[in-house]
């Protein structure tokens, strides 16, 4: 059903930035002092990043510590928003054009579902501990 040819063409422009990101993060990983202890998997970070690409928030669920600042970056050729699903809205980015970023600091523990107001089938959750 999917055309490999079309998919290749559509993805092509994003391949290089993607590789760059991977390379940079690989370097950072390598620069870190050695493997983290097993318990590190349970630790919640005090910053977070969500990547928006192919109409998806990644990771869809992000867990951070209270006080953490979470940044979203839009890598699509379409505008998206990061809009709190709660009423009243806890946060709303407005339109994020390509490569635009939005950041929000989560002071209080809780579960914060959000979506893209332009493409509401895109959803994500920030869990603050």
């Amino acid at each position: 059903m999917q055309s490999p040819h079309l998919r290749t063409r559509a993805v092509q422009p994003r391949v290089w930035p993607g590789r760059l990101v991977i390379t940079v993060s690989s370097l950072l990983t390598l620069a870190l002092p050695l493997p983290l202890p097993a318990s590190a998997g349970e630790a919640t970070p005090n910053t977070g990043a969500v990547h928006i690409e192919n109409f998806t928030f990644a990771p869809a669920t992000l867990t951070v510590k209270a006080g953490a600042r979470v940044t979203w970056i839009n890598r699509d050729d379409e505008p998206h928003t990061v809009t709190s699903a709660s009423t009243p809205r806890a946060f709303a980015s407005g339109a994020l054009d390509t490569d635009a970023a939005f950041a929000f600091t989560f002071d209080k523990p809780g579960t914060y579902p959000y979506f893209c107001a332009v493409h509401p089938h895109m959803t994500g959750v920030i869990v603050v501990k």
């Binding site: 559509a10 422009p13 379409e78 928003t81």
Partner: protein, 345 residues
């Protein structure tokens, strides 16, 4: 190349181009149209006409296809002014091209519908540019917003500029406006016996959902239809498709079935949408649902590729993926003929 143009015209296919139609006649039509053909059905016989040019005008007059009772209008959609990437760095230019085709048509349409995503980012300058170009057609234009037109302000800027009241010169023809709040944007009007209904399905969107009409609007629709004879031809226009074209990409309207249930009793219902930047048709009894091409950029076929972003076509192919639609009410049963024409020339 011209035969290819015919193949690219999805609506021409869907109109049921007769295999018995002579190749010579088809080629003549194509020569007039340069890729854009208006297909009409007369007594079940398909007939191709150019959207512009003296030859088409003469043919129409000779065949009597266009009488004083014909109602013709044009649909444009998804102009996305403000988009600036591949495959179209200049959607203002392609919108301009579409408007010039409409202005140059031998048979002048009565008015125009814009089925949303006028802008890309809801910015005032994007609305300004679009409005100036669209007004160049010299036609009354009826708008509904797309989700790109209501980002961040629930459409206040859009409705302030393009509401049925401010965009229509002869306000008296608008028979009903949402009674409690004009900014909600839905309205209806009558033209030559055809009842037109503008619906808004891009506000109050729910996380995880698609388009949404809402109880208030559906109640208004029921009231608007009540008391109309079921023989009244209806044309409904909204941005997102009322049927679920492809839910994984949000291509549909969550409560669209509730609207369709109200429309089904009528003998001729045509639902015109944009949003997915390609022509797809679904027919349910007397209800024909029809999406339209964009004037800005194409999108992939449902499910083809990782997401519904702009399809990166070659610059030389762009015009074949963009287009406009002409709708003609010529038949006695009230069913219109639809003609989609690409911007390829």
């Amino acid at each position: 190349m011209k035969r290819r143009a015919q193949r690219d015209d999805g609506a021409a296919r869907s109109e049921g181009v007769s295999p018995s139609m002579s190749r010579r006649r088809a080629m003549t039509c194509l020569a007039w149209a340069g890729g854009g053909i208006l297909w009409t059905l007369e007594g079940g016989v398909p007939r191709g006409m150019s959207l512009g040019g003296v030859a088409a005008s003469a043919a129409q007059t000779a065949s009597g296809a266009v009488s004083g009772n014909t109602l013709s209008f044009v649909q444009i959609s998804d102009s996305h002014i403000g988009f600036n990437k591949a495959p179209n760095p200049d959607p203002a230019a392609t919108l301009q091209s579409a408007i010039e085709r409409i202005r140059g048509a031998a048979q002048r349409p009565a008015f125009m519908l814009h089925t949303g995503d006028v802008s890309h980012l809801s910015r005032p300058e994007e609305f300004d540019i679009a409005q100036q170009i669209v007004n160049g057609a010299g036609l009354e234009t009826y708008y509904v917003p797309g989700e790109h037109d209501v980002i961040g302000d629930d459409g206040r800027a859009f409705f302030a500029r393009f509401s049925s009241v401010s965009s229509v010169s002869s306000v008296s023809r608008i028979s009903r406006i949402a009674p409690d709040d004009r900014s909600t944007g839905w309205y209806s009007f009558d033209q030559q016996g055809v009842h037109f209904i503008a619906l808004v399905n891009v506000l109050n969107l729910k996380p995880g959902g698609m388009g949404y009409l809402g109880d208030t609007q559906l109640a208004w629709l029921a009231a608007d239809l009540k008391g109309r004879t079921h023989s009244t031809p209806l044309v409904v226009f909204a941005h997102m498709p009322l049927w679920s074209v492809y839910p994984a990409w949000g291509w549909g309207t969550d409560d669209g079935d509730r609207a369709l249930a109200l429309l089904r009793p009528f003998g001729s219902v045509t639902v015109l949408n944009g949003h997915i930047h390609q022509t797809l048709q679904k027919v349910e009894g007397n209800v024909r649902l029809q999406t339209a091409m964009s004037t800005a950029f194409p999108q992939p076929a449902p499910g083809d590729g990782p997401g519904p972003g702009p399809l990166k076509v070659e610059a030389s192919q762009l015009g074949r993926t963009l287009g406009i639609r002409r709708v003609d009410f010529t038949s006695l049963d009230g069913a219109p003929s639809l003609g989609d024409a690409t911007l390829a020339s």
